[in-house]
Symmetry: C2
Subunit: 272 residues, 2 copies
């Protein structure tokens, strides 16, 4: 999927919502635990109830790896279900990978070829040659951590390097990498005021924004400073949507929460 | 395994060699491709031929994830084979993970509980609360990236932050984290002269050192500057050992290469 197609989906659905599929077996309705593949059944129900309200789904690989082979199988089934039934939806493997060149190529194959995700999140610490192998997949997108939504973001990301914060240095440096047009960035919603500076460096890149909802970020503030000509935002909510209820009505409750966010987004898009 | 037990193994085996199990199906002997699980069969043959010459094995998860479910299954079989047959060998999941707190906990469960590795590598970019969930597993070890062996290390890791290089800032900062006694660090062999400064910050931490062999690092130089009272080094070689031959004699060839390194290490340990 190209970024133009992604923007077209956003306009069509009046939504730039991404739903995080972070399935914790301790938090899902008990009756699902009796099924053969509770993780996939949970995801399928959430997707069936919410696909018209969002433009992207983002399974975080940690929640699948924690369940070993069964988890990996559920991840495969989830992405296959999305690609088969909702090919217009943008898919993100939230994996935060990054390694030396030949190893990053293997990760890129895992997520872009074997699992056929549209995009994967990567970490910048190992620099250019750890990210370029992902960028080499020209019909895919690489979403690099810039400024994350957790408290630990202040440990290193906001420290001053060569006169600017490290996350800005990361953003600027990455612009010179080969196929950098395939880059998007993770920018946490908990620091909305930072979006002004980020848009100076990267006016139109898509930004994946976690931290709305459970982590306390505010949608209106993020959009005020972060929205671009092509919208350029994917606002993620995970726990706030998928665990809206842990009873039999979990999917309907998730849809209601997603609808709330979609309607706020519609207002923002209409006033743009 | 405690670090004291690891040092005891090093003294006993006269080796601080770690062998990287980075299995690429394009590089292994053709006859193995006919078996049901070529990745595991390759690893088993390498382990059987080299276990007396090394103190650690390090599968890089990228090489397993690239093969999907089959790859994850091969990783499970490999770690089970090691834990069953060679419980004295230190095992490293080279995964370079890192995410917000509740997600890092899921990764820690994946590698420490589900797969039962002794240690896992993590990336520092997201700071304290992305690493502490790993450190909370008190009988396990968390190996954090400090200075990596690739060219991209110079993009961010060696930039100056608050008067010192970022990798030194990462090392120093991590010393204050909860359960930091469970930390080890990745330090690339290609920059042996940096070990002097690193040992000033972290005199006795174990350092996992990639970059000897295929990436051009020199064993003697690393030991000259990096060896500590408790040895404190795990020198990793992956491609240089496991792909020493791609014929039927691949395991013997790997053992011969491992033996070469072990003998150099024996000389170093004897002169210590």
């Amino acid at each position: 999927m190209t970024t133009q197609q992604l923007t077209a989906q956003i306009i069509k659905k009046k939504s730039f919502l991404c739903i995080g599929l972070d399935v914790d077996l301790n938090k899902i309705p008990e009756h699902l635990l009796q099924t053969e593949d509770p993780i996939f059944e949970f995801n399928k129900a959430i997707i069936d109830a919410t696909h018209h309200l969002c433009v992207a789904y983002k399974p975080n690989t940690a929640f699948y790896e924690a369940y070993g082979l069964k988890g990996w199988k559920a991840l495969e089934k989830t992405i296959n279900y999305l690609n088969t039934n909702h090919p217009d939806i943008f898919t993100i493997a939230d994996a935060k990978r990054g390694d030396i060149g030949n190893t990053s190529t293997m990760y890129a194959k895992a997520f872009f070829e074997d699992l056929a995700f549209d995009s994967v999140t990567v970490a910048p610490y190992m620099g250019k040659d750890s990210v370029e192998p992902f960028l080499a997949f020209k019909d895919k997108h690489t979403i690099m951590l810039a400024l994350t939504s957790n408290q630990g973001a202040f440990d290193f990301q906001t420290k001053t390097v060569e006169g600017k914060e490290l996350y800005k240095h990361v953003l600027e440096t990455s612009k010179s990498w080969e196929n950098s047009e395939n880059l998007m960035y993770v920018v946490g919603a908990t620091k909305a005021e930072y979006f002004t500076d980020i848009r100076k460096i990267s006016p139109n890149s898509f930004l994946l924004v976690p931290g709305v909802g459970a982590q306390g970020g505010n949608l209106q503030d993020v959009c005020k400073y972060g929205i671009s000509d092509n919208v350029g935002l994917l606002i993620n909510s995970s726990r706030g949507i998928i665990y809206a209820s842990n009873n039999n009505d979990f999917a309907e409750a998730a849809a209601a929460k997603a609808k709330e966010l979609q309607q706020q987004m519609e207002v923002i898009l209409n006033s743009k």
